[in-house]
Symmetry: C2
Subunit: 235 residues, 2 copies
Amino acid sequence: MNDASLTPAHGATDKPPTSSEIGERIWLAIAERRLRPGTRLKEEQLAEIFGVSRARIRQALAGLASEGLVQLLPNRGSVVAAPTVEEAGDVFFTRKLVEERIIERLTPRITPRQIAELRKHVARERAAAEADAVSDVIRLSGGFHMSLAELLGSEFLISTLRDLISRCSLITAVYRDSAHYNCGPDEHSEIIDCLAAGDAGAAMRVMRTHLDHITTSLDLDVERQIESDLKRVLG
Amino acid sequence: MNDASLTPAHGATDKPPTSSEIGERIWLAIAERRLRPGTRLKEEQLAEIFGVSRARIRQALAGLASEGLVQLLPNRGSVVAAPTVEEAGDVFFTRKLVEERIIERLTPRITPRQIAELRKHVARERAAAEADAVSDVIRLSGGFHMSLAELLGSEFLISTLRDLISRCSLITAVYRDSAHYNCGPDEHSEIIDCLAAGDAGAAMRVMRTHLDHITTSLDLDVERQIESDLKRVLG
DNA sequence: GACTACAAACTTGTAGACAATACCGTAGGC
DNA sequence: GCCTACGGTATTGTCTACAAGTTTGTAGTC
């Protein structure tokens, strides 16, 4: 693993990062494909990189493991997870259902003020896309979907969606063929229009189409060989 | 918290329990309503009860927190979570969708040998129900659903369903009105029949009905006041 | 008499050290 | 020449001690 792949652009900070900040940085490194599936994540190495003790690293890794981003091998360490094609299908299928549920429940209760907030978010997405700020684009495009869950306020759906989006980011990082990062802001805008019009059915349809676009942009048919499959390939 | 509520029936073991064993015991205590929502879970106290150090307790609590069973309050400790009525709706809704997906994918590939395994499982459920072995009944009724996911072999759906079943157990523990524990074996048997017949549609229908039965057995309309709602009640 | 500021006790958060386990290279035997 | 057994090295798993934060009780003041 290249140490530079985890150090943030804005340089070293004074305070030691919290375990969730560490998790976020590792997550971003995975989503940006700087950390490839199969990469070993040694605790001591990470502890040195982030300037914290191993205990905090273990916390962060445990969190990432529960989100399915890293795999914890007992007594043998952690590696960046390598989702299978089948798993990818399940994840996107589930995400579609959960996001439709969110839309369905959010539509009748959303306020004009919240609509405005969402539009601002999409504007930030556009700005980041035009500036080619890859980290921001990835974070913001997931952030739009998270915002919908947060507006709804259901703790369960929020944490479930966070989990699903993380997994989707990993999947797209593995199976996406080109530079086209996550979802585009135009379809997000369209979803907001439906929400503003109070048309839950239309919003759900657009959301479904939107997520289908992401799915179809993946090479799920191609069998991408990844590091952890090495044994199977050569065995 | 009563210490006795966590000690297992079969007495103290020689070896110290692993963090997942500790998590399981706490989970069971919650599912059996021995630990009520809002109960504080002090690390040192738990460490003494299970005869391990605090580090292992923290692991167990972190795992339970990611399943939504306990709530981690930074610098203030952990309490047994108190799901709201709205959250309960979301959880059951999502569980229905996930279990239907499992059934849908499992039906065309299930083998007679696996059918036989499932029938054996239901037989164990019946035996436990007749013997009034509450712990076993709770574990086995959830176990049936887990078995379906495990037969399918999708890591994602397995971990997702484990999460959902845990949350459902907590919800039923909070909102169920009487002694009727989780799901009955008869409907499980019916699901197996549909699987054996290769009729995915029927199996999905039965599963949906089955889960609806659990939902309707809850007092979701009644506002059960729980400790963490104290402020809202008195404020 | 009620409110605010302070102090003590308790609980969690963190770090560092030690023990257990798994992997890799080497030597010996078949 | 290949396989197996052994030992060194590296990495994870666990525990104990200390630091930081929060809550609770108490005294002083308005």
